[in-house]
């Protein structure tokens, strides 16, 4: 039995027990309940052929049942694995419940994964049926069919271009539904027995398998039970007071646990409506039309939105831009307080009200966020400025920390306790522990059953007591909020013994728009030093505004004013670090601005634009050593590949700088 | 049938009997028609000049006639000697042409011709309002004698009757002929004239030989301003200088339909057909309809003509391409 920590709002835990006891065993159960209880309420919308088609929960049940019975006609057996591949389309979502009702296991697969990767997943999971969006996916699977022995039926949603395919194994979704219907025509009792079979679903049985893309090695199939998901969803809904009245837009990959929980799990449990966009290209306008009340997006979505806001406003008239900027300042000052229901002085409240009329309201309207009650971001760290920007507009954006293995929720920020640097307090029913090496461990009802056909990985991740290793390093701050600092395997130690989380430091610096990449050093060293790679577009703009003349990237990078600017940024980061006792020792002492852009062509970045640290250590060894010496300048010659494929070398004297006011805790104590 | 015969007779035979029975009157009617035809032709000429060079259908040509005449008369009324007033008026028309080119045409280059037409309708309103504001709305008398025209008339005894020729009418005819001849020479012999023709044929080509489109536009508007002034003097000598002329000037549109938008000979021939035709029709057929048919004869003639030959008398049929 789990040791339950106190509920987030301080209510007695007993309540929760009682509520959880009323939980239904499976999602098909919830489907039946919703079709009864929320019969006339819209369960799903899909923008198709120009308008939003709607299905009430009652319609949904009928559609799903027809498909499910059709699958049964095709011979789907309990335990069979069914791949679901494609964009966020209603029929693919229906497949989950349709398969689960028969005791099968849906396995959503990333639609954009390359054939080889898809082959591995489908083969590993032992897929018998695949439900695909369109011809593209079907073609991909047909090319793999020879190596996939278990794969029998391919079912497609969109019929375009599917005329000339083998109709014995490649079937239309409609066709399968018709099979189901015909079966019912022959035997009307099927409907009742279908519902009866649902009653036999065990709550601890396998509900869904989600393959984690995994940065290293093969994808792993995370097995989640009905209990895992349903309890987590119930708790999450309770935490944010989500009811059947919410609307959300489904646009993130189906195979991602977040989408599965937000657009399927929580929706079924609460009974709220999920809207599918017309196409991935139209998400922005579709979101505006729907105006979701519950919204999730990874940080990059918020970043891109903010960039497009800024770019758009560049073209606005001067007066309007001035007004916009003025009110954003007002929001920046008072918005958070107002959102957190803290008291502000009447003048500020009035100005904020004006801003709401002229800027925030219309802006939220354009973003399609005017009705957002709760918005979450997770997955990576979000820039504090970006985070605050949305909150200051009055959007209740919060952070959460989660994992596929936890059925998402590990921690989340309760309303009114928001800090850009934390990921919140433990979610309901979740226990958190921090290991000695800083690694975060958790235990919750959402903890997965295990990795499919991978006992070894399961055992190394999950302890017999049910604790799960997150692989992330972090700490609980004074307010009881979890802060994630880095991947735990990357966290090092300085010679003075203090923690060195490179990613954490790098991210803090990268949040400044002028800085594109940062590489931090310090493991086994006396202090932290960083390479800074400036963002040419941002810095060039800044240079133009400040009348700084330069001839080349190299020249600009070495410009004293650029160094000054970077220096200021580092000082701010140091202040920030100093305020957090666990990482105060990891303040930056020395830095340099790299004379060239880090480039994938030169092997410095991966093709996905991530820094290849080991390569950099090797390539720029001289520079690193110089950072840990007293030198103020270091000559360096680098081989580079030009855009046209020629190779050559760049030579430069890189300036090394020391940060003013650098103080480690020890030094402070000494003073 | 019995009822029909007199009607057919009235329409198809009686008018011709009347013509033959009083040939001197017929000649008088034709002469009157000829003279007003000349005036229509002159207005149409102003249109053609501008349309040829800039594809602008200048609705304001009529009001320009009134405007020019009013300037002339008003200057004289203010005590300026007639000939100096005439020269000053030419100057005013020059300034007007430049202004129109600068303020209106230059901004509307490459617009659809309907848009350009409407712009000139707007121009009409401005000129009309300005004219009335400055010169007042009352009709004025043209300073015919002061400009050296004879106001007398000569009689021609023929077919046992008398045909009266007003000297001013003769002058009008002569001046019109001189002007057409001068324009002909201008277009074929002078550099600017040839440039104008080049513009009419192909804007790009004109630009490539180093002629500024803007200059050309200013020149043609000035030229048609002078034509307007001459028209105004002639017309004013026959009746009054008043804004009513503006409506009559619209008949030049019918003339253009007959003669084509780009043909100077067409404008002359069309003007004469309309002028003579409407006089004959008014005198010999008008009574059948209760009179006043002059008001619409020209347009209906143009309309009927259009149905049979949409491209005008001198235009070519063009093939539509897809």
């Amino acid at each position: 039995m789990n040791k339950l920590v106190e509920g987030h709002d301080g209510k007695p835990v007993i309540d929760n027990h009682a509520r959880l006891a009323r939980a239904l065993p499976s999602f098909p159960h919830y489907l039946l309940r919703n079709a009864e209880q929320f019969r006339h309420q819209v369960a799903m919308r899909h923008k198709d052929l120009g308008i939003w088609r709607e299905w009430t929960w009652a319609n949904l049940l009928v559609e799903i049942r027809r498909f499910s019975l059709g699958l049964a006609q095709l011979g789907l057996q309990p335990g069979d694995k069914v791949a679901i591949i494609g964009n966020n389309r209603p029929r693919l979502y229906w497949t989950f419940a349709a398969v689960q009702a028969l005791g099968g296991v849906p396995v959503p697969v990333y639609a954009d994964s390359v054939a080889e990767e898809m082959n591995y997943v489908l083969d590993h999971a032992g897929i018998r049926f695949a439900v695909c969006q369109d011809q593209e996916q079907i073609d991909k699977l047909l090319s793999l069919k020879d190596s996939l022995e278990t794969l029998e039926y391919l079912i497609y949603d969109e019929p375009r271009g599917m005329r000339s395919y083998d109709t014995n194994s490649v079937l239309a979704f409609d066709f399968v539904q018709r099979l189901g219907e015909q079966a019912v025509e022959r035997d009307a009792g099927l409907i009742a027995s279908w519902s009866g079979d649902i009653d036999n679903i065990q709550t601890d049985s396998l509900c869904v398998m989600l393959y984690t893309s995994g940065t290293t090695g093969r994808p792993k199939g995370v097995m989640l039970s009905y209990r895992n998901l349903i309890v987590t969803c119930l708790n999450a809904n309770r935490f944010d007071h989500l009811s059947q009245r919410e609307q959300t837009i489904a646009y993130l990959p189906l195979a991602w646990v977040g989408d599965h929980v937000f657009s399927y799990g929580q929706s079924y449990v609460a009974g709220y409506c999920v809207c599918c966009p017309e196409s991935p290209d139209t998400v922005t306008s579709d979101r505006r039309e729907i105006a979701p009340s519950y919204f999730f997006a990874p940080p990059r979505v918020f970043e891109n939105l903010l960039t497009s806001i800024t770019v758009n406003m560049e073209d606005a008239s001067k007066v309007k831009r001035g007004m916009f900027n003025y009110f954003l300042k007002v929001a920046n000052k008072h918005g958070e307080k107002i959102l957190n229901r803290d008291s502000v002085n009447p003048a500020a409240a009035f100005m904020y009200g004006l801003g709401k009329l002229f800027v925030y309201g219309p802006l939220k309207n354009r973003l399609g966020m005017s009705k957002v009650r709760v918005a979450y971001t997770a997955g990576e760290a979000i820039g504090p400025d970006i985070f605050r920007f949305y909150r200051s507009l009055g959007i209740n954006l919060k952070q959460l920390y989660g994992q596929t293995e936890a059925s998402v929720y590990i921690t989340a920020q309760p309303d009114g306790e928001i800090d850009a640097n934390t990921v919140g307090t433990p979610s309901i029913d979740v226990e958190i522990d921090i290991a000695d090496n800083g690694e975060v461990l958790y235990r919750s009802p959402g903890v997965f059953l295990g990795y499919y056909k991978n006992e070894q990985a399961t055992n190394s991740t999950k302890t017999p007591e049910g604790w799960v290793h997150t692989g992330d390093a972090g700490f609980i701050d004074d307010a009881g909020h979890l802060r994630i600092i880095d991947r735990s395997k990357d966290v090092g130690k300085l010679n003075n013994g203090s923690l060195f989380p490179p990613k954490y430091i790098e991210n803090k610096l990268k949040f400044f728009a002028d800085i594109k990449e940062v590489v931090a050093f310090g493991d086994g060293r006396d202090y932290v030093a960083v390479f800074v790679n400036m963002d040419l577009t941002a810095v060039a703009n800044w240079a133009e505004r400040n009348n700084i003349v330069y001839g080349s990237y190299q020249e600009l990078a070495a410009h004293p004013r650029v160094y000054e600017m970077v220096h200021d940024h580092i000082q701010k980061v140091n202040e920030d670090l100093a305020s957090e006792s666990r990482v105060a020792g990891a303040q930056i002492k020395r830095f340099l601005v790299l004379h060239k852009e880090l480039d994938a062509d030169d092997g410095e970045l991966t093709r996905t634009q991530k820094v290849r640290r080991s390569f950099i250590v090797e390539r720029y060894g001289d520079l690193i050593e110089a950072l840990y010496s007293d030198k103020t300048e270091q000559f360096v010659s680098t081989d580079v590949t030009f855009e046209d494929g020629r190779t050559g070398s760049i030579e430069a004297n890189v300036i090394l700088a020391t940060v003013d006011g650098y103080r480690t805790p020890q030094m402070q104590e000494a003073v | 049938m019995e009822a029909l015969m007199p009607a057919l007779d009235a329409v198809f035979l009686a008018p011709f009997r009347d013509m033959v029975s009083l040939p001197d009157f017929l000649i008088q009617v034709i002469w009157e028609g000829f003279v007003s035809g000349i005036l229509y032709a002159l207005i149409a000429l102003g249109f053609v000049l501008i349309y040829k060079a800039s594809a602008v259908f200048n609705f304001a040509q009529g009001i320009m006639v009134v405007f020019a005449a009013l300037v002339l008369v008003s200057l004289f009324d203010m005590g300026v000697p007639a000939w100096i007033a005439l020269i000053l008026t030419i100057g005013v028309m020059g300034i007007l042409a430049l202004t129109i080119e600068r303020v209106v045409l230059r901004k509307l280059v490459n617009q659809h011709e309907a848009i350009l037409l409407m712009a000139t309708i707007g121009l009409t309103l401005v000129l009309k309002g300005a004219g009335q504001l400055v010169f007042g709305g009352e009709p004025k008398t043209m300073i015919t004698e002061e400009l050296g025209f004879s106001t007398g008339s000569s009689d021609w005894e023929v077919f046992d009757g008398i045909v009266i020729f007003q000297h001013i009418d003769i002058a009008a005819a002569v001046i019109a002929i001189v002007m057409v001849a001068a324009l002909g020479v201008f277009f074929s012999k002078t550099r600017i004239g040839r440039a104008l023709r080049a513009v009419a044929d192909d804007h790009q080509a004109a630009l490539s030989v180093g002629i500024s489109l803007n200059q050309i536009w200013a020149i043609v508007w000035f030229a048609s301003g002078i034509v307007a002034l001459v028209t105004g003097i002639m017309w004013g000598a026959r009746s009054d200088v008043s804004f009513a002329l503006e409506i009559i000037a619209l008949k030049a549109l019918a003339v253009l339909i007959l003669g084509g938008f780009t043909s100077i000979p067409g404008a002359i021939v069309g003007g004469l057909i309309v002028g003579i035709g409407e006089k004959l029709f008014e005198v010999y057929w008008g009574p059948l309809f209760g009179g006043g048919v002059e008001a619409w004869f020209a347009y209906v003639l143009a309309l009927i003509f259009l149905l049979f030959r949409p491209q005008g008398m001198f235009g070519e049929r063009h093939i539509e391409r897809v």
């Binding site: 606005a316 | 709305g137 347009y299 897809v322």
Partner: protein, 360 residues
């Protein structure tokens, strides 16, 4: 800015194709209609109703008529005044011949006569285009004017040559003639204009309206898509002339009370033309804006000298307003050939995308 459309989504094609798909527009229209129907009759003075609102509505209707022909079907016409005249004279004759016929029916019937005349004068449009067509409409204008003078039957051989509006009642209330109150006349004309505007909007968004626009935009392509130019053009002439005819009938019966041929002369054709240009070709809203602008501007200008106790003749102000309107036409053609309606649409678009300068 005030157009906050987030959350407005369409679940049926009927909603998506509604005349006013945006909720705020619907609310705006309801407010305008409420003011027009409920507030104005109560608060407005007789002068305001009979000298501003009634003529404004008459001209708006005529402008819709001309705009259908010019803005939607692309056929230039300079004969609007005469087509209005046909409506007015028809209405007059109908009231004489059928004295007991309901006046509303008479008003609406009279439009059919001008529609018929419109078709006759539209026939040349099958062979000729653009400016040439404008000339044929001038022919219509002058020929019809002549008819109004010479055909005595049209005005019952009055000595004055004018048509005098007889008194007619509706539900016991005088709606035409000297005893009809401005309020009654205003409300009747408002209702007719509102309904006819709705009808025009409906026709314009359907098959027939689309065939007009096809002919306007690319007549050759339209024909190759199966649109028969004969039907498309003549139906545009008929529909347009019907509107002008009803506007003409309303002008005499609801506003002027009596009229001579001058009421339908070429200057009136131009007046309506200006309304369409300044209001905006191809926009029904523009017709109302253009009518308001062209009609109200001179009224305001006339009111200026007395307000400042200046001793300027009314005629002088008339000339000034002529200059201003002429200059505005040129200005609009240069700066915004689609007139006030486009400015309104651009403004609305700005409000919709606010605070962004354009939609993304």
């Amino acid at each position: 800015m005030f157009y906050r459309e987030a959350g407005q989504f369409k679940t049926t094609y009927a909603d998506d194709q509604a005349l006013l798909p945006i909720a705020q527009d619907r609310v705006g229209l309801i407010i305008v209609l409420a003011i027009a129907f409920l507030v104005l009759p109560i608060v407005a003075s007789d002068f305001f109703l009979s000298s501003i609102m009634i003529p404004f509505l008459v001209f708006a209707l005529a402008a819709i008529g001309l705009n259908i022909l010019m803005g939607y079907a692309g056929q230039l016409s300079l004969g609007t005044g005469a087509f209005m005249g046909v409506g007015a004279y028809s209405c007059y004759k109908l009231t004489t011949i059928f004295p007991d016929l309901n006046i509303l029916i008479v008003l609406l019937l009279s439009g059919f006569f001008s529609a018929g005349v419109g078709v006759v004068f539209g026939l040349p449009s099958l062979r000729i285009k653009g400016l040439y067509l404008a000339i044929t409409t001038l022919a219509a204008q002058f020929f019809l004017e002549w008819c109004f003078i010479r055909v005595g039957w049209l005005y019952n051989y009055n000595d004055s040559g004018a048509i005098e509006v007889p008194q007619r009642e509706l539900f016991g209330l005088a709606v035409t003639g000297p005893h009809a109150t401005p309020e009654t006349r205003y409300l009747i004309i408002l209702t007719i204009v509102a309904v006819m505007t709705l009808v025009a909007a409906n026709v314009l968004r359907g098959r027939i309206g689309r065939s007009w626009m096809m002919i306007r935009d690319m007549d050759i392509a339209a024909e190759l898509m199966g649109v028969r130019p004969l039907y498309a053009k003549l139906s545009a002439f008929a529909f347009s002339s019907y509107y002008c005819g009803v506007a003409g009938a309303l002008m005499v019966f609801m506003w002027l009370g009596s009229a001579e041929v001058e009421a339908f002369d070429i200057n009136h054709s131009f007046l309506v033309l200006f309304m369409v240009i300044i209001g905006g070709m191809g926009s029904l809203t523009g017709c109302f804006m253009g009518a308001a602008f062209i009609w109200v501007l001179p009224v305001i200008l006339r009111a200026i000298p007395p307000a400042f106790e200046l001793d300027i003749l009314a005629a002088t102000m008339e000339h000034i307003s002529s200059i201003i309107i002429g200059a505005l036409i040129i200005f609009f053609l240069i700066v915004e050939p689609h007139g006030l309606a486009r400015l309104w649409r651009v403004g609305k678009e700005k409000l919709r995308t606010w605070p962004f300068p354009y939609a993304t």
